[in-house]
Amino acid sequence: MDNELLPTNNCVLLPHILMLAKGSTEMTSREEDRIFTVDEISNIIKEVIERLIGNNFYEHDKVTRWTVDIVDHILTELTNLGKRFKYIVQAVIMQKNGTGLHSASSCYWNDITDGSCTVRWENKHIYAIVSVFGLSI
């Protein structure tokens, strides 16, 4: 596409072209509104866990508070994205002691619009697994 300034006798066409361009961006943002974007949500999750747990030791009294806070903060940030989605946020926090843990999920939904994002995070003392499922309305 030509980025040069149009000569004055073509100025009448400019507003029409601008309107068409605006129309197409509106369409894509509406489409984006209905598709689950994994990267954006993965960043939100990592940032929230880092902020709330950081380098802490596993403390039995605090764990309940941590899981509830992580899940609440993530859900608030997801709501702020303003997309037409129902969300499920699940967090599992475990002490690092050599025990084995497996987590699996299976979903019956619309493959095109719905999606999930699972982040596995650890520091020296704690494992955290956070899953976010987004289902379009």
């Binding site: 599992v92 843990l101 619309n110």
Partner: protein, 128 residues
Amino acid sequence: MNYSNAISNLNFSSNIHSKSSRSFNTNEVKQMLEQLIQQIIDKQNEYDCDKCTQLSKDLSQIIKDAMKSLNYEQYKYVIQVVLGQCQDDNLMMTCRCLWDIETDNYASYVYSNTKIFCAVTVFGLFYY
């Protein structure tokens, strides 16, 4: 107190809420989970890392198929299975949901024997 039945009988509910399909019944799903999970986990003699990886995936598929057989109309499901070894460790699991409280719900069940513990959560979300 749940007023949604009374409200839906008054004829001004919007078109997106079609109340003809039955809503997610937590007790029914929980009973189904209890029967399925006890049978499957008790077959395992001990915790084996590789077998349990496959077991957790298989269990989630089995439960998804069982949910489909319960025939809830217009519902999407999310099934989460957490399986682990029973040592002296502690584990904390929390979830929060942003959904329509009149139609959506969840059922969860935790089962453990001396070797393995299993926590399963099934979420049912209405699709308008």
